[in-house]
């Protein structure tokens, strides 16, 4: 996934530190060998989705107090072992994103591509088939909505 097609895949500051994570994502992608990759955009979209599943599954597993189930066991790696607060935050974000997708699928997808997939505005625009400006405004409003939802959720849990 690194250097996909020679182009910069990652946003500045978003480094895929752990080879374990990349390997697992690669393995899962390869298992979808029957899938006819329509184009690069299709591939990138699926990759981001996978990253999200892997990270969130891992976080949910940690929240439950044990490693996420499944045949492939991720080795304990510093980059992947989230603090309890981080695991909870990731799970809350995923839950909020699922809700968001119910009434605005495109914005939820933007968040998935940018945050979990680490993609640039241009790459995100390519995957979604929209203008980069659309990605920028989607990203902006999505963050506001998510931030509001997560602080409401936090307030509910605190009460």
């Amino acid at each position: 996934m690194r250097g996909c097609g020679g182009q910069r895949m990652e946003r500045p500051g978003h480094t895929l530190q752990t080879t374990a994570l990349v390997n697992e994502a690669y393995l899962k992608l390869m298992n979808h060998a029957q899938v006819d990759w329509q184009n690069r955009a299709h591939f990138l979209g699926i990759a981001a989705q996978l990253m999200r599943h892997i990270l969130v599954d891992h976080a949910r597993g940690l929240c439950r107090g044990k490693q996420g189930g499944g045949a492939q066991h991720l080795p304990l790696d510093e980059g992947l072992v989230f603090s309890p607060r981080k695991s909870a935050a990731l799970v809350a974000l995923d839950d909020a994103l699922i809700e968001f997708a119910k009434f605005d699928a495109r914005k939820a997808k933007v968040v998935e591509l940018r945050y979990f997939g680490g993609m640039s505005v241009e790459e995100t625009a390519e995957v979604l088939g929209v203008h980069p400006n659309t990605v920028i405004s989607d990203w902006s409003l999505a963050k506001i909505w998510l931030k509001r939802e997560l602080s409401r959720e936090a307030a509910r849990n605190a009460g």
């Binding site: 978003h14 480094t15 530190q17 304990l76 510093e78 072992v81 009434f103 940018r114 963050k143 998510l146």
Partner: protein, 257 residues
């Protein structure tokens, strides 16, 4: 939230954002006089907007602390790199007005209460050590469920050979002195590699990561670590250090490393 309602909210939100802040209330009143739900939603989004730009800025994978982050009364200034036990940062103690090194330990620690207890016990023993050639441990704290150490910030470079004999002997004496003091307190370094030995400008040796490396090792650590641990164990049979354990680290400055 319904999709069509959300569309209205979004349109209005984009429009009102274009207005100067003092005109927004009027704009909203004019734009949706009969739609309190939409108005309320837009207003609450406007209220949530400040600070949202940096939300989701850091990758879910990154756990690094950035300059300005506060850990108790310490403020992170920057990264010093990655030590054997995790990330190391340069930080400022806001109370004592001095710079320190902060080591944040692997988060996997937070899941094992036994390890935390053992770690804190040994940290207390190390903190009691006060020796010119041992980097002092000032404090242990907690950051998001993971322990961190505040240590003496040593301005020096890792020990690097080859060294002229006289200098090697001098460093060797300093280190043996430090190790003897630690051993007297029942603490064994267990990882006296050149990277853990800094030499200051004044030619003074400082030992780092004292007595804590072994505890910081994770389960299932790579094979070479296991071999290294066995090697150390075979050198010192009992928990209390023997002469063999003391003499082997002081060989470090003499080798061509």
């Amino acid at each position: 939230m319904q999709a069509d309602l959300w569309k209205k909210v979004e349109e209005l939100f984009q429009a009102v954002q274009a207005e100067p802040p003092d005109k927004r209330a009027d704009f909203l009143n004019q734009a949706c006089p009969d739609d309190p739900e939409v108005r309320a939603e837009v207003q609450s989004l406007l209220d949530a907007a400040p600070g949202a730009a940096s939300f989701l800025d850091s990758s879910p994978l990154s756990s690094a602390l950035t300059p300005g982050a506060k850990l108790g009364h310490f403020e992170i200034l920057g990264s010093l790199g990655r030590g054997g036990m995790g990330e190391v940062y340069r930080a400022r103690d806001s109370r004592l007005k001095r710079e320190v090194a902060i080591k944040v330990l692997p988060v996997s620690f937070a899941r094992d209460p036994d390890r935390i207890t053992r770690f804190e016990r040994e940290a207390r023993a190390v903190a009691a050590l006060n020796h010119p050639h041992i980097a002092t441990l000032y404090e242990v704290g907690d950051h998001e469920g993971s322990p961190y150490l505040a240590l003496e910030l040593v301005d020096g470079r890792p020990l690097k050979g080859p060294l002229p004999v006289k200098q090697a002997i001098e460093y060797g004496i300093q280190m043996a002195d430090a190790l003897a003091a630690a051993h007297a307190a029942g603490i064994v370094h267990r990882d006296p590699k050149p990277a853990n030995i800094l030499v200051t400008e004044k030619g003074s040796v400082k030992l780092l990561d004292f007595g804590l490396v072994k505890l910081a090792e994770q389960e299932g650590a790579p094979a070479w670590r296991a071999r290294q641990a066995t090697w150390h164990q075979s050198r010192s049979k009992a928990r209390r250090p023997t002469r063999a354990a003391i003499s082997s680290p002081s060989a470090a400055p003499c080798t061509n490393c």
